[in-house]
């Protein structure tokens, strides 16, 4: 089996002492930040991104992936114990998980979440190993029009899955695209929107943008509206194991969630958020005792937690094979890869197999560490919830500043970060969600290049996007998605799903 050979290569690369240590640090730090109420994976990744810079590419990516899983897991912990989702994909976990906690089953809910995630992580890893190479073969068939249509679909999906107003989300994507174009035009060599500032020649730097929009704005948001103090529900470690009955209900849900999540994760625009909502809906539909839902049904924890973890894994597939991030979290991962000098895409797998397979293997290792190390450390994470915010935020701010400074000692970087903090603040006041902007920002130059190539090929005829079967299929999918939004019933579901408490 070729797949196992590849995986073996990966494990050899990932299991070096150095990489294991970085994976562990990533998982721990990710949990540490992710556990803080209101901080989801995007700000967590942004805040911790700088500490990976000094590392070699594989270690850096392994650590980033570890941070991502850690952040997700930390988010579930907060959801269950304090009923405060740190991220959209934990919203669902809040519903049933917190109810379970109230009934004294917090330990069981946490263990179920961790075990379901681990199971999904294992399947997701195999899925990635099996489908990665296949998709990268498909990717070789992709031409410029196909890439362009794929990005259109991805951006439309990002809009659908964003919080709040659709039109505003579209505008955010477009503003992101525009910001992504700042700098030197690769085709003509002319600079665009640089105002004669040297620091903008190579485009707006990713890190000050993300840290400003997410890290610093998040602090300001919490200072302006201090989150109501909610005491976490205390849990004893020996209550951790699910009962036999709970286990019997949970495992089929975890299996269904894993399947659903693995598939939804690959889709453009898919990912953890979509998967967890879908899984919750499915569990609620097929249960024989619908009255249990909303009152702490364990399937409602196992299913969505498995789904979001599986999707988190498989959403690496489009990034690693096509070089296109399918959601804002992946956009940050792509930013991290580019900073490391790796252009994500099918070439990574052939040119640097140890990097691709090492990352795949490290995902499994990271998931294992989450269960083996994090679960027993639960007490510490819960303690962390009681650290007052007045201590936390100056430290987070300092990390943002040191992070930016350690990538570039140019004072201009700090200016950029300040500008994006102010911009992010204005966006917050006007009710605009910045996540789609990041996706647009990363895709801007790619989209322009592929649009230009396509139209040059077709001598300016836009029909080229419909003549190519792959591209046409993707555009039809895009239309379907748009039709779904216009369709009132779905629209209502979306509004309910994204209502903030």
């Amino acid at each position: 089996m070729e797949m196992f050979e590849h995986l073996a290569t990966g494990f050899v690369a990932a299991a070096s002492v150095q990489n294991l240590v970085f994976c562990l640090i990533g998982v721990l730090l990710g949990t540490l930040i992710g556990v803080l109420p209101g901080i989801g994976p995007i700000p967590t990744l942004a805040i911790l991104l700088p500490i990976t810079f000094g590392l070699d590419p594989l270690s850096a990516l392994i650590m980033m992936a570890g941070i991502y899983y850690g952040a997700q897991y930390g988010g579930s912990t907060t959801s269950i114990l304090v009923n405060m989702p740190g991220e959209a994909s934990s919203v669902v976990t809040c519903i049933e998980g917190h109810q379970m906690a109230k009934r004294g089953r917090a330990g069981s809910a946490l263990a179920t979440a961790a075990l379901a995630s681990f199971f999904a992580g294992c399947v997701g890893t195999v899925f990635l190993a099996a489908f990665g190479p296949i998709l990268s073969k498909v990717a070789q068939q992709f031409t410029s029009p196909d890439y362009f249509s794929l990005m259109v679909l991805g951006l439309v999906m990002a809009v659908v899955l964003a919080h709040g107003s659709l039109l505003k989300a579209v505008a955010m994507v477009l503003i992101g695209l525009l910001l992504g174009l700042v700098g030197t035009d690769v085709n003509s060599g002319l600079t665009r929107y640089t105002f004669g500032i040297d620091g903008l020649w190579e485009g707006i730097d990713f890190l000050p943008l993300v840290l400003g929009l997410f890290g610093i704005v998040e602090i300001i948001r919490n200072l302006e509206n201090p989150p109501a103090h909610r005491t976490p529900i205390s849990t004893r470690l020996r209550d951790l194991w699910p009962t036999r009955d709970e286990f019997r209900l949970a495992w089929p849900a975890a299996v269904r969630g894993t399947g659903l999540g693995s598939i939804l994760g690959i889709l453009p625009g898919g990912g953890a958020v979509l998967a967890s909502f879908a899984s919750y809906t499915v569990e609620k539909k097929i249960t024989r005792q619908p009255e249990r839902f909303g009152n702490g049904a364990i399937e409602g924890v196992a299913g969505p937690e498995a789904a979001n973890n599986a999707a988190a894994q498989t959403s690496f597939i489009p990034l690693l094979t096509l070089g296109i991030p399918s959601n804002p979290v992946m956009a940050i991962m792509m930013g991290a890869m580019i900073i490391q000098g790796i252009q994500p895409g099918a070439a990574v797998m052939t040119a640097r197999p140890e990097l691709f397979w090492g990352m795949v293997a490290s995902m499994w290792i990271g998931n294992l560490m989450l269960v083996v190390i994090n679960l027993p450390m639960l007490g510490i994470w819960v303690k962390l919830l009681s650290v007052p915010y007045r201590f936390l935020y100056p430290a987070i701010l300092l990390f943002c500043a040191v992070g930016v400074y350690s990538t570039s000692t140019e004072p201009f970087m700090m200016v950029l970060m300040i500008v994006f903090s102010i911009f992010g603040y204005v966006l917050m006041k006007f009710g605009c969600e910045p996540a789609p902007l990041v996706l647009g920002f990363i895709l801007g130059p790619l989209m322009e290049t592929n649009l230009r190539r396509s139209l040059t090929l077709s001598r300016g005829d836009p029909m080229i996007f419909l003549d190519r079967p792959i591209s046409a299929g993707l555009l039809i999918a895009t239309l379907l998605v748009i039709a779904l939004i216009v369709f009132p019933q779905f629209r209502k579901t979306r509004e309910v799903a994204f209502q903030e408490d």
């Binding site: 505008a171 665009r192 322009e448």
Partner: protein, 149 residues
């Protein structure tokens, strides 16, 4: 008399209009080219145009669709945080990462009312030590530890 029903949308709409217009005005010297041979101005102007369009719709809609009010601006948090960032970028080259970090965190602490200065300074010293150890010794980042570089 037109009545603003959704102040957030009006604000967002105007902001989109301004950004889109800025994209068009600042990019007016870029060669537009044609679909067949896209110039450097083609894609940016296309996008800016769409942003203006959406800005107009969102702003217009704010007179008909009910929406949330804009939350009150609180100047203290954002100002102090930005001052803290400025302090960091001005001082790091001069007095090194340890003192800069402490100063920055003390300034940042004043983003909230009722600061306990003793507690803040002690905590800032701990975090600054941690940052120095991790970033300067652990990750070998190029930043001076003290003022003598």
């Amino acid at each position: 008399m037109l009545k603003v029903k959704s102040p957030q949308d009006l604000g967002a709409g105007i902001m989109f209009l301004l950004i889109g217009l800025a994209g068009i005005v600042l990019g007016r010297d870029l060669d537009f080219g044609s679909a067949r041979n896209m110039g450097p101005g083609y894609f940016p102007l296309l996008i800016s145009g769409f942003i203006v369009l959406i800005g107009a719709v969102v702003a217009g809609r704010s007179f008909t669709l009910e929406g949330p009010a804009i939350e009150r601006l609180q100047l203290r948090p954002i100002l102090m945080l930005l001052v803290a960032l400025a302090v960091f970028s001005f001082l790091i080259k001069e007095i090194g990462v340890v003192l800069t970090s402490i100063l920055m965190m003390v300034v940042a602490a004043y983003a909230r009312p009722n600061v306990n200065i003793v507690e803040t300074v002690i905590f800032a010293i701990c975090v600054a030590t941690f940052v120095a150890v991790v970033f300067v010794f652990g990750l070998n980042q190029p930043m001076p530890l003290w003022w003598n570089g």
